[in-house]
Symmetry: C2
Subunit: 153 residues, 2 copies
């Protein structure tokens, strides 16, 4: 969320993005900054093609290859999380460890505390003799907002 705020629409966002990229060992080129900013504009994971389309739509000249390379670089330093699926999707996240709760209805990703998740899965150790890797286990379900919507609508 720190990363997301860094790119928020407020005027100072841009300079923080530059700082984050620098800290990640990446020179803050226009392409990298805008890829980052597009990600920051979404609550849900987006595909490389989506990022590319958005940027081309804005008139920026950027290759799909560069989008992929930037995404990889950001993932490597822990600034984005990669969601496996038919098509890979990417989303900014905290550099600190956390669980991902993914809403199947609206795509929203909640970053939950690792401690809480560890507690959830503690019983699995005895019940199934299995120790869960919290950071690798994305959890799918429905977020509160969508539940409310489903009940109402």
């Amino acid at each position: 969320v720190a990363a997301r705020e860094a790119a928020s629409t407020s005027g100072t966002g841009a300079v923080e993005v530059v700082g984050l990229l620098r800290a990640a060992g990446l020179s803050p080129t226009a392409q990298r900054r805008t890829v980052f900013e597009v990600l920051a504009g979404y609550e849900r994971p987006v595909s490389a093609a989506e990022v590319h389309d958005v940027l081309r739509g804005r008139g920026l000249r950027i290759g799909l290859t560069t989008v992929y390379r930037t995404l990889h670089a950001l993932a490597e330093v822990g600034l984005v999380h990669v969601f496996a699926g038919e098509e890979r999707r990417y989303r900014l996240c905290l550099p600190a460890p956390h669980v991902h709760l993914v809403c199947e209805a609206c795509g929203l990703v909640i970053e939950g505390s690792v401690d809480a998740a560890r507690r959830w899965w503690e019983p699995a150790r005895k019940e199934a003799d299995f120790v869960v890797n919290v950071e690798h286990s994305d959890v799918y379900g429905t977020c509160g907002r969508c539940l409310a919507g489903l009940r109402a609508g």
Copy 2:
């Protein structure tokens, strides 16, 4: 597991495989039966290419296309579970709902009880206002056998 037993090496396996395929609305051709039997021989999810290679290795004439089509058909009736990743992998499973616990060390998949899993994730409802879809949330970690091995070796 019922499905796995049906294809076990005991002599009577074959007839049960035929029954399962029939029940699934698939005519039990040689290709389909052998795809099923290959799956039954693994504790871990295997890729379409792996299944294909094994069967070709046995001398059976079968196209990769047929492997894919059979895998899809079995998945559709709930006899196999598809694991997302760089490459998709397939594994026989119970037709009844369950959670999948996937060992990242050895690939073993444990089919856990939905009730237990629901209990694990009950706290998530209050803590994060999120209701988990147990069947869609594959859990990654380390199985007891591998934990023991890691401690020992």
